[in-house]
Symmetry: C2
Amino acid sequence: MVQIPNTPAPTKSPAPRPVPTSADVARLAGVSRATVSYVLNNTSAVRISEPTRRRVHEAAKELGYVPHAAARTLRAGHSRMVLMPTLPVPAGPLYSQFVHDFQGALSRLDYTVVQYGATGLRGDDAARAWAELRPVAVLVPSPGIGPEGVAVLKRSGARAVVTLSPVAVEGARALLLDHADVGQSAAAHLYARGRRRIGVVVPEEPGMEVFSAPRLAGAREAVHGTDATVTELSLAYTEESAAALAARWRGLGLDAVFAYNDEYAMLLMRALQDEGLRIPEDVAVIGADDLMLGRLLRPRLSTVRIALPSGRDLASLVDRAVRNPAAAPESQERFVATVVHRDSS
Amino acid sequence: MVQIPNTPAPTKSPAPRPVPTSADVARLAGVSRATVSYVLNNTSAVRISEPTRRRVHEAAKELGYVPHAAARTLRAGHSRMVLMPTLPVPAGPLYSQFVHDFQGALSRLDYTVVQYGATGLRGDDAARAWAELRPVAVLVPSPGIGPEGVAVLKRSGARAVVTLSPVAVEGARALLLDHADVGQSAAAHLYARGRRRIGVVVPEEPGMEVFSAPRLAGAREAVHGTDATVTELSLAYTEESAAALAARWRGLGLDAVFAYNDEYAMLLMRALQDEGLRIPEDVAVIGADDLMLGRLLRPRLSTVRIALPSGRDLASLVDRAVRNPAAAPESQERFVATVVHRDSS
């Protein structure tokens, strides 16, 4: 055989140290594997003496043994895992806080929360991928999963599927987040302030239409049958896009704008002010989310405050559903939009 | 037996429909379990005819069978799971975008990213909890894990442990995020602008000291041996806290402030302006993160831009480490702080 020079030999990995198993722990502690399992899973049904417990813990520590969640799941048929797909768009501060609280509350109830990353799969195909992890509960924060996806998850051992979306899904518990109500509240407020030519910002960033479309529809509904009009305004979250919109503002003849949320409102308000338009005299502006930054702007930004369910309430709903999966799926309308009137409208 | 009235009988759950197994699929398709496994795991090593493949897929679909990731992990000894503990504090927009990109990139490389929620466990105890899921790689975004935690993860099958923190951890690949450099850049900028009495904001919110302590230390280092002083300023992210700090500002005799980040800078700048202080004449202000909002403030906010590694670069580093775990752990200094000088300093 001819050796070809200059071809590097494949790097030889050192043989990995074998992963210690519960059998190794049992051997070192001088007990049965069942005893190891009872001790490390904190089973209270079986009485085991303190010295034996200590021996098992010491052996596990010495060997660096870690129980295998997958093995436990296979034995029990379900896990303590609550799966939560991540949003298809980067999360805002309100949602980050909500997820943080939800995870903390479930962790105190002895669940493990995993957020499942972007897979590129959609709808029921995504549900099948989640089902492979055999979660005991799933919280779906964005629309897309259908009745078949819910059924796949339940057949795979999920005792509770909870959706947070504008529409209920058959078989799932639903917290109905009514984004149309946000747009309706904003437009009704602007109408009550005497405005008749209302612009509604629709962000250009992909993935946002889930929220922006119902908000726009809600705004249209609010002024339906009145003398007011609603104009859709496409806006990207860049200074250039805002400046371009502000430059053609006078031609649009609008006297008010619901700017989708507080961040887009801050962006657009600055661009309108730079064009010499006065807020609220020439243009009334309202955002949504009630972020701190709105209170720091001058004029102070009016906003729609959205009451997300508290992370703690939602965690206890998930826990109840896991403990009693047979209870009929409930839909709850939990979205409350309140206008906070400040100086910009 | 006496029936006690008014005590509701326990709700009887209907017997749950049993979870279909690969044996059920094999029976319906008229093939062996091994064939089912080959087909559904897309094993290319074994030749299986198209009609057989189709029969297996149809049977799986009819039964609603979903492969069990845990079982696959047990067989293979490792998963395609990349575990990423969530931060102990709600994430800001920069970090959310980074996580979003990282997940997307790993998903295109056929990994599943799970973010592991808050457990209340710290350091190596947290590492043991992560190890129960047997991830093939772990990205640790905040400090706390030590050499023992890294060893536990590796013994449990993790081929790569990557830390993103100010210090390297033995056994792990490290991307060193040098937050001292952020404080140093900010203070050096203020010094170069002629300021000598520099305040540095330290947020009161819990969990932030990981970042704020090195930033403060870096600022002190920048002016060490000069005639300038650094004063630590405790500030909560509320209008009340900012107003209280602004009210006693003149007594502090400070002519500049590094406000931790752009959001705290916006908060403090507004409070200082409301106290009649002029920015930058009376107080030079600089933030960090280079958020859009800084460009929308008047005066425009100076900031320290922080170059996080790109999600894509980090995903390919993880992938290389998984494919060649024997390669020596590398430390990389990846943090680059750049001052963006605008009008506020």
